[in-house]
Symmetry: C2
Amino acid sequence: MAMPDQRLPRYQQLHDDLVAQIGNHVWRPGEAIPNEAELAKTYEVAIGTVRKAVDGLVAEGLLERHHGKGTFVRRPRFDSSLFRFFRFQSPSGERRVPESRILQREVLEAPSAVADALRLPVATPVIRITRLRLIDQNPVLAEEIWLPKDKFATILGLPSEEIGDLLYPAYEQYCGQVIASATETLTVESVAGAYARLLRLECGLPIIVIERLAYGFDGQPLEWRRSRGPADQFRYQVDIR
Amino acid sequence: MAMPDQRLPRYQQLHDDLVAQIGNHVWRPGEAIPNEAELAKTYEVAIGTVRKAVDGLVAEGLLERHHGKGTFVRRPRFDSSLFRFFRFQSPSGERRVPESRILQREVLEAPSAVADALRLPVATPVIRITRLRLIDQNPVLAEEIWLPKDKFATILGLPSEEIGDLLYPAYEQYCGQVIASATETLTVESVAGAYARLLRLECGLPIIVIERLAYGFDGQPLEWRRSRGPADQFRYQVDIR
DNA sequence: CAGTGGTCTAGACCACCCG
DNA sequence: GGGTGGTCTAGACCACTGG
């Protein structure tokens, strides 16, 4: 473990050290970390200081406390609780995870817009994934996804069946990268060309465009994606604060 | 002040009591609350317990701590920091608060959809405000806003100039109601009829529809609004987590 | 300088979970 | 019952703010 900055408060040093250990999979998601008394002893701090550090990690969603049982590394869930973005309205109206069809995976030199977003030098190798998402065989979203190659190289060789319908669990499982937060920007455009064909829409019909920049726990951008879907069946819900 | 539930932790009782006092404007936004030692003495708890209660209020955005100065009731700001929703792109691209033109204020019996959203009995008196928002004289948003009459009656008689371009500060100043959180749902429709005229659009052009349900600190719904604007100049940004 | 919040301690006791 | 986290205390010392 790296030498922490002695000028920082001890609870902050402990916090950072625990983040690092969670990131290095010292404890796997779902496992318990040592109990508070033990942490206090090994780090030579009072138990109140341990609690303050753990409080922060719980607030950030890295840990879960369970009274009487222990403190556990949290397994992020992007489909239901965290990312409840889209409500693809099936005929009956319930929310569904769309099927995912990967069309292409390739390695490119980062175009300047992508390099800017991911905070990489221009022409750094990046992975570009194109993907079609469907509900009941009907295309609802066409996506292009950009990832830094050095962190996500293992996703390149993976069979599509291994990846499944959700990318973020795959990032976690196969690349050790956890998405913790994101920023989305929505605009409306008219569809044309390749996207009209993919989404089976007439040229000129309105589509919604969603750009997402997703970050890891350390605040580093990990993924940039742009998704397009027919505007007429679009529904997007957000909670503010 | 009401008798708090003795079964709750003392920091929680203190927390709730401070919420009530802030809600009753015992201290006005921007003012300092008593210092920690004083609170500890008057509530007969240890200073660490006071800190835990205040920690919660800071996390909820009700208070702000300033090291060496004191702890202050926070003045919510909906234009810049909290509600950074719309980026009306002026030619130069900067974000602007659109001008607000109130078209109508009337009292109605709540239609069932509105009563449901605001959790009121059907046919409860509600206020309906219609409003046009413009940038450089161009309409960017047509809004209808529904409020429970019992809480917002004072807004009815207010001159438009007193209300200004933002409603939430007016709710706070004239009705004593503070908006703390909201849920927004976005969809896309084709414009027709009255909205086409208001927004000066041809019938059939796509518009964005934003439904917002806004809540007070106690979680009670206070306002329901539906806003419509031309889709082509629409841009919406959200931070997730 | 005095007053404020920020950190940290060492320990007590309570409430929950599970064998 | 033994182990866990949750609450609470009483106080020390530090760091920032402002007159």
